[in-house]
Symmetry: C2
Amino acid sequence: MEKSQPEHLKNAGLKSTLPRLKILDLFTSGQDRHKSAEDVYKQLLASGDDVGLATVYRVLTQFEHAGLLVRHYFEGGKSVFELNEGKHHDHIVCLQCGHVEEFYDTTIESRQKKVAAELGFAVHDHSLHIYADCIKTKCPHKPKGV
Amino acid sequence: MEKSQPEHLKNAGLKSTLPRLKILDLFTSGQDRHKSAEDVYKQLLASGDDVGLATVYRVLTQFEHAGLLVRHYFEGGKSVFELNEGKHHDHIVCLQCGHVEEFYDTTIESRQKKVAAELGFAVHDHSLHIYADCIKTKCPHKPKGV
DNA sequence: ATTGCAAATGAGAACGATTATCGTTTGCGT
DNA sequence: ACGCAAACGATAATCGTTCTCATTTGCAAT
């Protein structure tokens, strides 16, 4: 059976405080999987929750360490977080509208491991970002400040 | 026959000024392919050239736009530049020492195009960064402030 | 329910990388 | 050699993020 939010926090060794619950809710119930710290902060303010920006950053980082969220470094210098649902995937970002789509390709994954091994590296992590334009009818997504 | 540095600048529509020549030289004759703005700045100061940090940033960006350099956004929030020699490649970054190694894998490249096409995207560009540890005897590279 | 205290928070200062401003200098065509 | 737009250097400003520290809060023991 699914765990409740407070339980998720408990498991992660984190007190279940108001800000933390609010932020976790944003990710589990929000529609946009990918949020920057600023996004989270604004969404909290918009819903009348008075959390400090510092807390947002702190909590996001804690959630990342706890494995609840995954952090991505997209171009432009700001980090973006998304719910960690166990299954690794890469991202393709539309340069026109900023929309992010996820994909997973076993061939790419295995080749990466292979290449790294050949070069004598022990892979920690990797990030593959494809920057592209949504062609055809796929770009109805409004630019969100990109 | 090879072009001279001033010609490279001319071609790019840039006046050949002292700072620009110095910076271009660093990349064409330096040993470390990958340099941050700070790296460039320090190397210039070290060789007695008195350029401003602002100029370094400006010139690097101009060179990027002119296609002379390629900019990479690695984790850690600072951009790294390298000479653009036409041949695309990806990077594997050692998390211990910050050393960057390059690789190119045709399988990965073609799978990327394929995946993007299937999702209805026209690829502009992509970045694949593998973050890892140099294992075995491969990590003699001194940490350079990472 | 009340209390106590460590953990968490919020406001704002601090920070590192980068960009913008602006008065001075310089490359380069005349 | 001259003139002027382009480029420069110093420094202020900006942006995302982290740090500091006084205040507040979750929660376990009363």
